[in-house]
Amino acid sequence: MDSIPYPSSQAEVEALIRALYAPGPPARIKHIQEVLQKVQKSAEGWQLAESLLSNPDSNLKFFGALTFIVKLNTESSSLSDGDAIQLVENLVGWLLQAVAEGAGPGHFVVLKLCSALSTYFIHFSRLWKHCIRHLVQCFDIGRYIPLQDFDDAVPVLMAASSLRWDKLQAVICFASTLADDIERTDPNSAKYADLHTHALENAKDVVELIFIGMNDNRHGDKTVAVGEDAIGCLQSWILYARSLSDTSDTLRVLLRPLVDKLISLVGSDGLGVTSVELLTEIIDSHPGFLNEDYYQKLSSMFQTEHFQARYRALVQGDFDHDNELFIWLMLSYGGARVSKLIESTDEQSQLFLSGLVGLTGCPGYVAAEDTVFIFTVEFWSTFVETMTDDFGFSSRERQPWFNTAMGHVKQVLSNCWRKIQWPPIETLMEWDTNDRARFVEARKDVADLLEAVFAMTGPPLVSMFVDLLLQHLNSASWTELEASAFCVASLADCISDDENCDDMISKVFAAPFFALMLEGQDKVPLRLRHISLQLIERYSDYFERRPEFLASALNLLFGGLGDPALGGDSAKYIAKLCSSCRHILTGEVPAFLGQFDGIYHRSPLDPLAEEKVVLAIASIIQAVTNDADKLSAFAQLFNFARQDIERSIQIAANPQTLNLEDPLHRRGIDPAELQAEPSPAEVSLQLALRALRCISGMAKGMQSNRDGPVDLDAPASQWQIGPELAALQNDILTTLNQVLVTFPTNGEVVEVICNIFRAGFIEAEPGPFVFPPPIVSSFFTSLTLNAPRIGTVVSTACSFLSSLFKGPRDQLLPTLSQLLPWVISLLQALPEPKADTELTQHSIDFVRRLMAKAPEVLFQLQPSSLIEFFFLFTLEVLNGSEPLPKAAAAEFWTEFLALRSEDPAIQASISGAMEHLGPLVSRSLMRNIGGDAMRSELDKLSEPLKKLVTQHVRAQAWLEAALLAEGFPSDKVSPQEKRMFLKKILNLRGARQTNQVVREFWLACRGSNFAYAS
């Protein structure tokens, strides 16, 4: 693109401005803008602005006003008082002229000129102290009045009351802009102290101006527009008042009387809605602005006929936006006055609360039709929580207001129960996704409200919904039954631990509830079946105490497995219920295995659901006390997965054997792609993954129940296992290896196998997945850098390492000596640390964990070049920019710098290593803290620094050399500042304030541009 030369004449400037506002390529517009900005900043900018404002073209006028704003903000100090007075004369003159020429108050030239005058006031308020009064008089007589001739005794109320609508609006526009601009300056800064004083001196004039604007009926069809501008101006000045300190009440005192007028306008046709909007904003954003007197006036206003008419329209289903605005005001008022409303028993407060109760019962479905329900429920939640929090339990019920308040709450609950009922399916299908999501959110809000109410009422609340459930169960009223079940389920957390409530819950499960739900989708709607499953899940603790209903509950859950809409949740709930009730169900293991056999051979379940079902069965098997029975049952369960894997390997080896008519082969088809024709390779892989996930479910299910007692004095496990268990473990390992060999490049296979191993690491007792450490170790070390997701494998090795330290130490050391060289050799094989950041991070983490617990393994590692490589590797990572590996490296050095050993040989190795590494790690830390690190890394990097200064006598020399070394990343700090930083760090001796000193030094090194964030 051709460059745009700097304009040499006024005409060229004007041409550029016209081009700026004409359509054109963005790059050219940007270029023009840059050239014009240079012109604005030049010495000729003042004259240019003047000549542009004298031009009839609106765009040129606009740019002229903009130029004045730029010049005032950058060069106001260069103007003499005489020049400044001349400037205000010109600006006011151009504003009068623009309005006189018919540029309406909303015209962009008028708006920009008001903005220019406001900027002028910010810089020269001492010269134009009574700006509002002066401007009103200028408009009144139609010309600029020299400041020395202006009569500041004439009140605005008098001069402004005769102004024509357009002139009045122009002055109001200026007053609004003034408040907006001044509000952006710091009232506590000495620089702006005079500005705020002068602004407040104009406040009385502003109040009179707004009053006239809100009160003036002389302007025919423009009356409403003038009034709206006046209300907008009031909003700007209230915002400004809010930005002033709480002690400065002058402005608030002046503005408050206008609220009387605002309240009186609520009933007017033209300005009612605007007034309501501002009142709502004041209460929401600045509730302290109104005092008790005004809240009383608002309370009375809610009972006026005009307001009541709006209210009645809405509660009869007219959710017109204007009606909604009136309701928002009610809700805002209610939120601000909730404590007072709870305690008030007077008629006006009761009428108001009854009104808010009524808002929960408007006709129409929540969200799709009724737009106020969600907000009203939020109010009632606040109401109930305030009742609970602000008034102590012992005194609450003795208060005279308690029964009245509870009466309202009960009515709200009754309304909510009706409103959360699902619509007929044909209505639901008409809703968009947003409406459906908001309906579900509304139900959750009601659930929260119920929990809040429970805190006051206790179990009778549950009893009420149980009775409703039974009543509608008998009458088969599905929607009411579903809503009642939802409410009972919502209260589960409140009572599920309470045995005293069991009888009440038994009424639900003892009733023909299960039998009805089992009748299936032909008779019972999906929503109801879904909530019945949720009800079982929420009350799983109850079934532990009352096992007589457990079988029916599980039958219902298993019945839901085959349903595409309920299958996932059913499986999840089966897993939860079987896990928590495992000790009760051990006698049913054969039945469960039989049930799964049926599932396995029928149409395949979703893989995730199947994993959960397998987990459920495994958790019951885990609770079997007889080891032989347990192993036998587990072997049967494992056999299902092994068959899948054998089938998978067979199809991989002989693709022609694939038979998609065979339901056992169809288990290898992704349920989402049942209609597609997958290749044998895909089926083979999916079959293997399904089986691996099932084995992963088994491994999780076989974990012991953590609720049991832990014998702290028991000897550590010796990993001695019987021959049956050993054979079973061998079977599992062989199967896993077969999958790994068949699918050597599949990352998901590796990841699921890692999860299977992980499940055994946390177990204290022998089990099918608690493999002997040498076997696990051999599995890991058989994998190389070429294995997929090798980072995940090393991460699993980290978990393994943690579990190892719980075992006997003599078995530990050989395993660690096998794993450590493997991990370092993986790093050696990397072309650079950032080639695989996950591997780098987890490998450093692995060595750190090992070093902390068994330093001798690290320092006796052979060949010693491995450990040298590792130290230099972590320093390279610390100097790098990858956040996660860098954090791991910082943690490693924190651990290493604090490392001490009672073994003299090891301690000598550590000290010897520090002699070489101390200067290097010091340099790396100082480079980072000197500006190379990202801000978020500073806390992590402070930790090794703290250890360095507290643990090593030569730290000062190393750090000083590092700070003064060539190549230090910043030239913004002097050697003295560096020494001062070092002195502070050393004096703090690793205290927490080190982090702050580090942060400050980093900022000093980076420069003031980075001080924008605290």
Partner: protein
Amino acid sequence: MASGAPTFYELYRRSSIGMTLTDMLDELIGEQRMDPQLAMKILSNFDRAITETLNDKVKARLTFKGSLDTYRFCDEVWTFLIKNVTFKMENGGQTVVADKVKIVSCNAKRPGDAP
């Protein structure tokens, strides 16, 4: 500079997303592609947006149980230290356990905003 009303807490700047945003702004300033004033404005927008979004849009919920070890209320900030905590996600989701949890909660309405 006084910020426009209402003001928002800056506490989410220490969250992962807040720190990442700040790192990114640092990078843009370092490359002279952004002024610090704009970065400041972006951070104050972030304060507002994350507060409002967490309040309005996040409807996921969980329940937790544990032993309340310590609690205090100082300068309008509640602090709870809870031990042996079990978090339960909604709809039968996974359970998460933690040895120790610290909850710091600030008044949603900042001091001075109350009527």
